[in-house]
């Protein structure tokens, strides 16, 4: 079964190509079947391969062909399969399948039904290649592939140029990170002579000592790629805008899978990061800072998808924190649970948006609890998991992260404290969303509740979000074991209680309104903070001023080719001489004769001055 692993990305890819080639000629049912079925098949295949693997957990490598062979550079189109790969593949195909199914209803009335599934299938294929790649170059292929698919899907409704803008922003910002990553690849190959992840890490361990500079630079460059793709500081600005795409796309790409690629990359190359402790610290700090920044921002948003987008950024920040403190398995675990509950939340919001005529503003919603029960319960469960209320999946993963952060020697308790603050904020903003949207007075009338193709994925994801915490991910062999002393029990109690406090606060502020925030919000400081946080800490504004506008200005200034001015100068000099000489051409015979005689006289005079002997 294992050697069939190459089929997993191939099936969606083929389906995508087929959908592209004969998009105009297929009935909708067939398009849906093809789109959903291919991912379903991939999921089943993954399941059966996974079963085999769990029975005999031996990592294996499969080379299809040598991609290119130049001098000593010979990356292959090759896959590597271990527990980490399995987790990622399961998430991608499993959650991917559910989201595809959901999409068949969500996109039902869209004119470009086939194009949508073609892109979505291609995305799944690229993402699978990313996680299955045996070498960093193939990983980079998947990495860029998902980027392009993300671009295509964010700008799916291309007629609106704002969507195109968002799509381009998403691509270009991640591309900045990707370029750093590409440089990292170049450095790694130059230093280590290979890009095959396993052998590269082996060579690295031999060649480098902990704390060397070169691995630090390499890790920071890889981290550049990771923060770009995973929307972490300072390259996170694209993700909220990327919500312009269809909501299932946001669920799949911008919550469950693609944005966690950075986490996967770091986890995959963890040996390198272990060689550079400073880079680990940077990862942790980036994660924590992002997580807090995004949580504050999420608290202020009114667009349902933007809240979820910032929440995603924040949660990935948690994963980075986990990676940074060396809690590799916890990070990946959180990646998985997050995929469940965030996909659930996004799909739920998709259902709301779908049945509320593309309404995004949560303050124009309200009281949907009775009208959309399936969605309501999805949101309840999803938010509970997001807030890490006890016994939900998010609880287990986040708890692990916080504990292991605490265990980190040195800065551990501080990181833990930051994480706790983040957890508190998470609970507040997630339940703020629930209370505002589903409770209170009804402001709009939905067209009904979800049909079965929406309900089934929601229910299944509800289940996963509830029980996902009990899964045991088979990554024990992939990562080094966590060492360190288990902290005192009070740490655990605090970790558990903080989300509950957050829930309570949200209840008091946004539902029962026993805590009145109006005076605080309306004070000048409050207003200022509000605007500041609402705008995502002004980072977009800053980038716009520092990068975007100068680039526009620069290119606008240079549009008409400054270099040509140099050649223009040569031309001008020639033309001037030409003009002067042309003046002599009066067209009057006498003038010509006169000048000839004059020239003759000059020549004769010169000739007579020079003695014959000298010639």
């Amino acid at each position: 079964m294992a050697e069939m692993v190459w089929l997993v990305p191939l099936i969606p890819l083929l389906s995508s190509v087929m959908l592209m080639l004969c998009s105009a000629n297929l009935p909708r049912l067939l398009i849906g079947l093809l789109g959903v079925g291919s991912v379903g098949a991939a999921a089943l295949l993954t399941l059966s391969i996974g079963m085999d693997f769990l029975a005999d957990p031996e990592p294996f490598q499969l080379t299809l062909w040598t991609w290119m062979q130049v001098s000593n550079f010979s990356p292959g189109i090759a896959f590597y399969f271990d527990g980490l790969t399995l987790v990622m593949m399961s998430v991608i195909t499993g959650v991917g399948f559910l989201i595809h199914l959901f999409s068949t209803e969500f996109m039902e009335e869209d004119a470009s039904y086939a194009r949508y599934f073609a892109y979505l299938n291609m995305f799944v294929a690229a993402m699978l290649i990313l996680v299955m790649a045996d070498n960093l170059l193939l990983l980079y292929l998947g990495w860029e592939g998902v980027g392009v698919c993300s671009y295509l899907l964010v700008g799916f409704w291309y007629q609106n140029s704002a969507n195109g803008q968002a799509a381009r922003k998403a691509f270009v910002v991640t591309r900045i990170g990707d370029t750093a990553m590409a440089l990292g690849l170049l450095l790694l190959f130059t230093e280590l002579g290979t890009l095959d992840i396993q052998s590269m890490m082996a060579v690295a361990n031999q060649q480098w000592q902990v704390g060397d500079t070169v691995p630090l630079i390499a890790c920071l460059l890889l981290l550049g790629g990771a923060v770009g793709k995973s929307a972490q500081l300072p390259l996170h600005t694209w993700l909220p805008d990327a919500m312009a795409g269809p909501t299932p796309v946001s669920a799949l790409i911008h919550a469950a899978t693609m944005v966690t690629a950075g986490v996967y990359l770091i986890a995959r190359t963890h040996d390198l990061f272990l060689l550079a402790p400073i880079s680990m610290m940077v990862v942790a700090l980036v994660g924590l800072a992002t997580s807090l920044m995004a949580a504050f921002t999420a608290l202020m948003q009114s667009d349902i998808k933007r809240i979820l987008a910032y929440s995603t950024i924040s949660q990935i920040g948690y994963m980075f924190l986990a990676l940074g403190v060396g809690a590799w398995a916890a990070g990946i675990f959180h990646l998985m649970t997050h995929a469940f509950f965030k996909a659930l939340l996004f799909l739920g919001s998709g259902a709301i948006i779908h049945y509320l005529h593309h309404e995004h503003d949560i303050f124009k919603m309200g009281g949907l609890r009775t009208k959309m029960p399936v969605t309501f319960w999805s949101f309840m469960i999803g938010s509970a998991a997001l807030a890490a209320l006890p016994m939900t999946s998010g609880f287990f993963s986040k708890d692990q992260i916080l504990l292991q952060a605490y265990m980190m020697p040195g800065a551990g308790p501080w990181l833990w404290l930051g994480g706790l603050l983040g957890a508190l904020l998470t609970a507040i903003y997630s339940f703020r969303l629930v209370f505002v949207v589903f409770f209170g007075e009804a402001k709009t009338e939905p067209d009904g509740d979800t049909g079965w193709r929406m309900a089934v994925p929601l229910v299944m994801l509800c289940g996963l979000a509830m029980i996902g915490g009990y899964f045991i991910i088979p990554v024990a062999d992939v990562f080094p074991a966590v060492s360190g002393e288990h902290p005192a029990h009070w740490v655990e109690y605090v970790s558990i209680s903080v989300p509950l406090i957050g829930l309570l606060l949200a209840y008091l502020i946004f539902h029962s309104r026993q805590i009145n925030m109006d005076t605080l919000v309306n004070s000048s400081v409050g207003q200022l903070l509000r605007r500041f946080w609402f705008g995502g800490w002004g980072i977009d504004w800053l980038y716009d001023r520092v990068f975007v506008r100068p680039y526009y200005l620069l290119s606008g200034l240079m549009k008409n080719e400054p270099i040509d001015a140099i050649y223009g100068l040569i031309v001008a000099v020639n033309q001037t001489f030409n003009h002067w000489l042309a003046e002599a051409q009066t067209g009057q015979m006498r003038w010509y004769i006169l000048s000839m005689v004059f020239g003759l006289i000059v020549l004769l005079t010169l000739a007579l001055q020079i003695p014959l002997e000298a010639l």
Partner: protein, 168 residues
């Protein structure tokens, strides 16, 4: 002594006639003076022992070429107003500058020939000698001259024919 006297007379006539030719307003008058000038030069040729050249000067230059001029001038039928216009153009403001240039050139030529010494030989170079040299070492020059004349023939025919055709 006689030759020398004759030479100076002929030279004076040639120069005077040329000056007059250049300054006439009427083309036919000018042409007559020019013929006189050419005849005077023919006399000089004869005096310096080039009788063949003198004959050619009279026959071809003063005869054929100048007659060509006469024909054309008559064909164009230039009237009195043309003369008046030409006269008006002969102002000092127009000829002062060119005259200066011409004088300068003349001065330089003078400077160059001032070093030349000696008389011309009295021994006449006969037509036979000229003929022998012409069809001996200079035969290529004859060919070139013939080509040139042919080209002139064709060219003038072409230009003249179009003139006549259009006139019809």
């Amino acid at each position: 002594m006689l030759e020398i006297t004759l030479f100076y007379i002929a030279a004076t006539i040639a120069l005077a006639a040329t000056v007059l030719a250049m300054t006439r307003a009427n083309a036919i008058h000018a042409l007559i003076y020019l013929i006189v000038s050419l005849l005077a030069v023919a006399v000089i040729f004869f005096l310096i022992g080039a009788p063949f050249a003198a004959a050619l000067e009279i026959v071809i230059y003063a005869g054929a070429i100048m007659v060509l001029f006469v024909f054309v001038i008559m064909m164009l039928n230039l009237g009195e107003e043309g003369d008046a216009r030409e006269r008006g153009l002969l102002q000092p403001s127009i000829w002062a500058g060119p005259a200066l240039l011409s004088f300068l050139l003349f001065a330089e030529l003078l400077y160059m020939i001032s070093t030349v010494e000696g008389p011309v030989s009295m021994q006449a170079v006969s037509a036979k000698e000229v003929g022998l040299a012409l069809f001996g070492p200079y035969v290529l020059a004859v060919e070139i001259a013939s080509m040139l004349l042919l080209a002139g023939l064709v060219g003038s025919y072409h230009l003249g024919r179009r003139y006549l055709e259009r006139e019809e």
